[in-house]
């Protein structure tokens, strides 16, 4: 470890690793620090990702692709099963990854590109001068060392403490924090190429249950519920999960327990400050509707890496110069999807089981060859006037604008 770098990255998840790799490939000196002894473990993820989205960044590799998904089933509160089969309409679905292997591959790629890596090393405070972030104090093996950097990247995941220490409010409102529990289960008959989603206020209030296969007889079985819906014995995510598993996987064996939180709020108002860019979950860019954040982490990491290279070349790392990063992701496919899905999520969490039943029944009647978000929303609104009422005029307008 040197005492000065062009770029310092806090956290070695997908966001941090891709930022480090991108910048190191362009010749910057980079240090990435990770407080855990092993990046990627323990896992805090259901590990699903869209095929086309992932391929923007990496060539799929059988070492970290656990399953290829061809179709999805959505199960309404009344038990009605709707199949979504986009492959029939010619579009691809997704992969379920082995995040432990995937995350390590990304860190390895960052190292191969020339980035220095330190594990079991925790950033415990930023170094600030006149309001400008100039690096961090790093705690390693009982000592604290100052490392200075031209640009610092906060990629510290859902906890997002580093940006907070720099003066950015990263607190997630309780109702916009999906609180989650998941088992990796084996020994049950599952469809190894289909994901399943269960909605309803009895199974998962303000969220959903997912089954994501990881090969024959093995799957991530998990739940997320709204942060304001649990909090008492018997109604916490783990309690809902135990009840679900008892009913649906009576003979399944649990081989891993995963807990976690996904923010479903709006992204941070600003993801840059003087000398600082905030990426991935730390920037609150996980998808408010699906909870997916792997692609968003990779994309924001890459974009921040590119902006760091540009800004350092121009000798300007002010908030104004780094705004390029903030503006780029907001204008991107991802930025637009976040806006739209936030509006949809706000409606989703207010739906009763009756609403959910009628929506899922009406969508099942749609012609899947013209299946896109706009046609989906139009269909839902015309077939379910009650839902349209819940949206209200303002809600409808912002939803349509965001599409």
């Amino acid at each position: 470890m040197k005492s000065t770098y062009d770029m310092l990255v806090i956290g070695a998840g997908p966001a941090g690793a891709f930022a480090a790799k991108t910048a190191a490939e362009k010749g910057l000196s980079v240090l990435m620090v990770e407080k855990r002894p092993a990046p990627g473990a323990p896992v805090r993820c259901a590990e699903g990702v869209g095929k086309e989205l992932l391929r923007e960044f990496m060539k799929p590799d059988e070492r970290w692709v656990a399953a290829e998904i061809e179709r999805a089933h959505l199960i309404a509160p009344d038990g009605f099963r709707m199949e979504m089969n986009p492959e029939k309409a010619g579009s691809e679905v997704g992969y379920v990854l082995h995040r432990k292997v995937f995350d390590r591959e990304l860190v390895w790629q960052a190292a191969a590109a020339g980035s220095d890596i330190m594990v079991k090393t925790r950033a415990c405070s930023p170094v600030m001068e006149n309001g400008v972030v100039k690096g961090a104090l790093l705690e390693y093996n009982g000592t604290v060392t100052e490392v200075r950097a031209g640009v610092t990247i906060a990629a510290d995941g859902v906890e997002s403490k580093f940006a907070r220490w720099c003066g950015v409010n990263t607190t997630v409102p309780l109702r916009e924090m999906e609180t989650c529990a998941q088992y990796l289960m084996t020994g049950s008959d599952i469809d190894p190429h289909a994901t399943e989603f269960f909605a309803g206020n009895d199974v998962a209030p303000g969220g959903y249950v997912w089954i994501f296969p990881k090969g024959e007889k093995t799957a991530n079985v998990g739940i997320g519920i709204g942060g304001d819906r649990g909090g008492k014995p018997g109604i916490r995510p783990i309690d809902y999960l135990n009840r679900f598993v008892k009913q649906h996987f009576p003979n399944g064996k649990t081989i891993e327990l995963i807990a976690g939180g996904v923010s479903i709020c709006k992204p941070l108002e600003s993801t840059v400050a003087d000398g600082l860019m905030i990426v991935g979950d730390a920037a609150r860019v996980s998808d408010p509707l699906t909870g997916g954040g792997i692609y968003n982490a990779l994309y924001t990491g890459k974009t921040a890496g590119e902006v760091a290279v540009d800004s350092l070349a121009k000798g300007d790392v002010s908030r104004k110069a780094l705004m390029k990063y903030d503006e780029t992701w907001r204008a991107s496919y991802m930025g637009k999807a976040l806006e739209r899905n936030y509006q949809i999520k706000e409606v989703f969490v207010k739906l009763t089981d009756d609403d959910l039943n009628s929506i899922i029944h009406s969508v099942a009647k749609m012609n899947m060859s013209e299946f896109n978000t706009l046609s989906l929303i139009k269909n839902i609104i015309t077939a379910n006037p009650k839902v349209a009422m819940k949206l209200g005029k303002a809600g409808l307008k912002s939803l349509i604008d965001s599409i």
Binding site: L174, A181, P237, A259, G261
Partner: protein, 57 residues
Amino acid sequence: MISVRRDICAYCGCCISVCPEGALELIDAYLDVDANTCITCGICVRACPLGALEVKK
């Protein structure tokens, strides 16, 4: 004060992101509560998926 049931906590970080005071910190697998900044609001208790946090009067 908030007390952490270490036999239950799976060090996931969910509680940290909802704490309005920034009083929680994960030091690898050890959840640390800063007694000086915690205002005992109980928000973190409600967010924990496993029930590892308790308000101790």
